[in-house]
Amino acid sequence: MTIDVEQFHQVFFEECIENLDILEQGLLTFGNAAVDDEIVNHIFRAAHSIKGGAATFNFIDIAEITHELEFILDQVREGSRRLLSKDLTHMLTAVDAVHKIVEMRKGGNKTPLANQQVVITLLRCIANSESQDITEKQTDIQKINNPSELLDPTSHHDEVKQTLQINRNNAEQPVVNEWEVIFIPSRHIFLTGNDPIRFIRELTELAELTVQTNIKQLPDWEFIEPEDCFLSWYIKLTGAITKSTILEVFEWIADECQLTITPLKKEEAIQQEEVIQQEEPDTSSQSFVEISPAELNKKSSQTQELASVKQEQAPAINIGNQSIRVNVEKIDHLFDLVGELVITQSMLSDLGSRLSLDNLDSIERLQSGLAQLLQNTKELQESVMQIRMVPISFIFNRFPRIVHDLANQLGKKVDLKIEGEGTELDKNVMEQLVDPLVHLVRNALDHGIEETESRLQAKKPVTGVIKLSAYHRGGIIVIEIFDDGVGLNRQAILSKAQTKGLIKSSEHLSDAQIFDLVFEPGFSTAKTVTGVSGRGVGMDVVRKNIYSLGGHITVESEQGNFSRFQIILPLTLAILDGQLVKVGSETYVIPLNTIVESLQMVPDAIQQISGALEVYRLRRENIPIIRLYELLNITPVNTSLTSALLVVVEADGNKFGLLVDDLLAQQQVVIKSLEANYDKVPGISGGTILGDGTVALILDISGLVRLITDELFVKPCAA
C-alpha cells in the first residue's frame, strides 16, 4: 500500500522555489531598513514550509540547510538577534544553495551539493555568534534544542557540534524522563504523503523506545481500504528528552494526527498533558487537560503558521509538467462567464424548438440570441487568455538580488528602480524573456554604470540608476531597461563594425542603425573582458530570443548620459489579429500589427533596379517587392505586377511589399504550433484553423525577410 510520493515532488519543487523567492526578497529588504515584523514572519514561514516539505519528501539536505536558516530567523523574530550584512550574505548563499539543490533534484540528479557542509557551517556560526548570550539569558531551552532535530549527527561540523552539545547538556542535564506517547494518525495520513513509521523512527534517535501497535481499528478484510491508515501506536520513551523535543518530531503532521504525551515519572516541572488534534471532525474525541501557557502560545502560533501557509496556496492548474498559479478572481470570472453561456445556450435551444418561418419575431430573437452568444464567446476567450497572463514581477523580482550581488562584486553604487511590475504578460513569453532581461541588466551594470570616480568627474550623482519598467501600449507590451551610465559609444561601435567588416566606412548611418550593430554576433566594444560580460556572446542571442517571441528590440542612447533598451513584445503568443490573404490557391494570415498599409499597385511606380530587384515607389520610399508565391513555392494565379495587390509590411525597421492575389477578411486567429506534430517552417510562425476547418499558415514576417536577405539579396547595411 505504498503511495507514489513522487507525484507530489513537482508541486513541492514549485512551492519550494516560490518560497525561496520570498526568502530572498525578504532577506534583501533587511539590508535597507529597520526589520519589519511582518516580513520576518513571512520569510520565517517560507523557510518553515520548505523545511517541512523537504523532510516529508526525504530531501534531507534541503531540510538541513533551511532548518539552520529557520533557526536564525526564529531568533530574529523573537528579537534576540540583529542581522549584520555579513550574515545576510551568508544567508543568501544558503538560499542559493537550496535553490541549486532543488534544481538538481528536479532534474533527477541526486548527488549532494558540494558546498553543502560549508553553507551549514556558515549558518551555524551565525546562529552561535553574538546572540548566544542573549538566548541563554532568555532561558528558552527549546531553541538550543532545535539544531539537532532532523539532522544526521554524522553530518555535523565537529566544532559546532561540540558547542551545541555542550549547550544542550548544560541546559537539560537533569532531565531523564519516561514518556508515554499515544500516536493516532488520521485515517487519511497516507494521502498527505506522510508515513507514520518515519516519525517513530525519528524518535528512536532521541530516546529508547518500546512500541506497541494497536490494530483494534483494523476492519475485516472485505472492508479494508488499502490507502487508509487504521493503525495507532503506544510508545514508551526513556531518555534525556523534553516534551517539546517529542512535539517537534511530530510537528509536521500535527494536523494529521492525534497525539497524547504523558510523563510517566511525575516531575513537577514537566507535569503536563497535551492533545494536539485538528481537522478530522469524524475522529474528534476528547479534548485536552492542563497546558502551560508557554506551550499553548507556541502551539497556537505554529498551527496558525501552518494554516496561513495553506491559505496562501492559490489553486494551481496543471498543464502537463508545468503549472500556473492563477488568481482566484480570474477563475471566478470564468465561472460567471460559463454561467452566462449556459443561459444563452438554453435560450437558443428553447428558441430553436419553437422556431417557425412564419413568425418573423422569432427570427429577430434568434439573431439577438446569436449576438449574445458571440459576446459570450468573446468574453470567454479573453478571460481564458487572462489565465495565461502573469505579472511581470515574476521576472522583475529577481533583479534586486542580481543587482545587489553584482554591484557589490563590481564595487559600484547602484539604485535599482522598478516600474510597472504589475503589467501582465503571457507565461510562455515571460519564461523566454528571463535570460535576455538578465543579460541586459547585467550589461547595464557592467558597461553602463561608471566607476565612482568617473561619475564624480562627469558631475553625476555617485549612485547610478538602473530603471526597469514595463507597460502596455496598444496591443503590445514595452519593457525598458534604462541606465544613466556612459551610454553607447557611437565611434567605437563604428570602428569595431568596420574592422569586423559589417559596414563600409563610407556609409552614412543613423544613430539607430549604428546602435543596432551591437546586436550583431561577436560584437562587443568592452575594452576588457570581465567575468560579468563582454565576451561578445549575448546581445545577438538576446535579439534572437526576442525575435523568436515575435518582438523586437531597439536601443536609444546619448553618449555620457544614458542608454535605454526597449523590448517590444506582442501581448500574447496564443492569439493574434490577422489579415487573411490569398496567394495562389492558398490562404495565409499576415499579423495585422506588421502591416503598414495595403494598396493596389500603380504601374508607374514599379521599377526594376540594381539587378533585377523589383521595387515600388511609395511616396518617397522604395519598397522591395516580394513575390510571395515564389518565396512560398506556390503555383501562382497571377504573375504580373500591374494593378496587383501589395501588402506593405514592416519588419525589423525595414519595409517590404508582399505581392498577394487577394485580400480576404480580417479576423482574430488562434495560433497553433506546427512544431508539435511537424517541424519549424522557415518564414511561418504557426498555423491556425479557419472557419471552414482548413488550416491556414501564419506568416512570420521577420522570418520571411530573413529568408530573403539570406538568399536573394544582401543585407541593406552590409555592402
Binding site: 518565396l631 513555392n633 506556390i634 498555423g687 488550416v695
Partner: protein
C-alpha cells in the same frame, strides 16, 4: 473496409499476438501496429507547407490539431498516384516521453486488420528496396501475400530530414 479480424493461418500458440492494420501502396502490402492508428479518414487537399520535401503533402486539421500528411508512395519511391475517392489518410500517433506526435500517411487503400503471433514476425530481408532499412521492422506472411511492417517511430523521424529542396513548380 472490412472490419472483421482475420486470423493468421498458422497453428495458434500461447504467443503474444499483435494486431496490424494492412494497406496497399501500388501493388505492395504494408502493415502498421494497430495501436498506433488513431483514425482513418478520406483524402482532402491539405494546406501546402512552403518549401517542404515533396513527400510532405501539407497540413490538415483533426479536431483542432494541425498535423502533417505524408505521401508514402512518394516517400518510398514507388511512384505517385492520382488521388481517388478510395485514397485514404491513416492518422498515426506516437508517444515520445510526455508528448505525443501525430501524423497522417496517404495510402492507396486500407486492406485489413490481421492478428499475428509475435513469433511470426520475420526480420526484414537482407537486400534493400527503395525504402530505407530502418523504416522496416519486419515482414509478415498473410495468406499468399507478404506485408512489410513499418516502424512507425522511424517514419516520424524521417519527417525531420527536411532537405528543403526548392522545386521550381509543382
Amino acid at each position: 473496409m472490412n472490419e472483421a479480424v482475420m486470423e493468421y493461418d498458422e497453428p495458434l500458440t500461447t504467443d503474444y499476438h499483435t494486431q496490424y492494420l494492412t494497406f496497399t501502396l501500388a501493388n505492395e502490402l504494408y502493415a502498421v501496429d494497430i495501436l498506433r492508428v488513431k483514425e482513418i479518414r478520406g483524402w482532402k487537399q491539405p494546406t501546402l507547407i512552403p518549401n517542404a520535401p515533396d513527400y510532405i503533402k501539407g497540413l490538415i486539421n483533426i479536431r483542432g490539431m494541425i498535423i502533417p500528411v505524408m505521401d508514402l508512395r512518394v516517400h518510398f519511391n514507388i511512384g505517385s498516384k492520382e488521388y481517388t475517392p478510395t485514397t485514404v489518410v491513416i492518422v498515426l500517433s506516437v508517444k515520445q516521453g510526455t508528448t505525443s506526435r501525430t501524423m497522417g500517411i496517404v495510402v492507396d487503400t486500407v486492406a485489413d486488420v490481421v492478428k499475428v503471433a509475435e513469433s511470426a514476425l520475420a526480420s526484414a530481408l537482407p537486400v534493400k528496396g527503395t525504402i530505407s532499412a530502418e523504416t522496416i521492422s519486419g515482414m509478415i506472411n498473410i495468406k499468399k501475400q507478404t506485408a512489410t511492417v513499418l516502424a512507425v517511430e522511424k517514419l516520424f523521424e524521417l519527417r525531420k530530414s527536411n532537405d528543403r529542396k526548392l522545386k521550381s513548380n509543382e
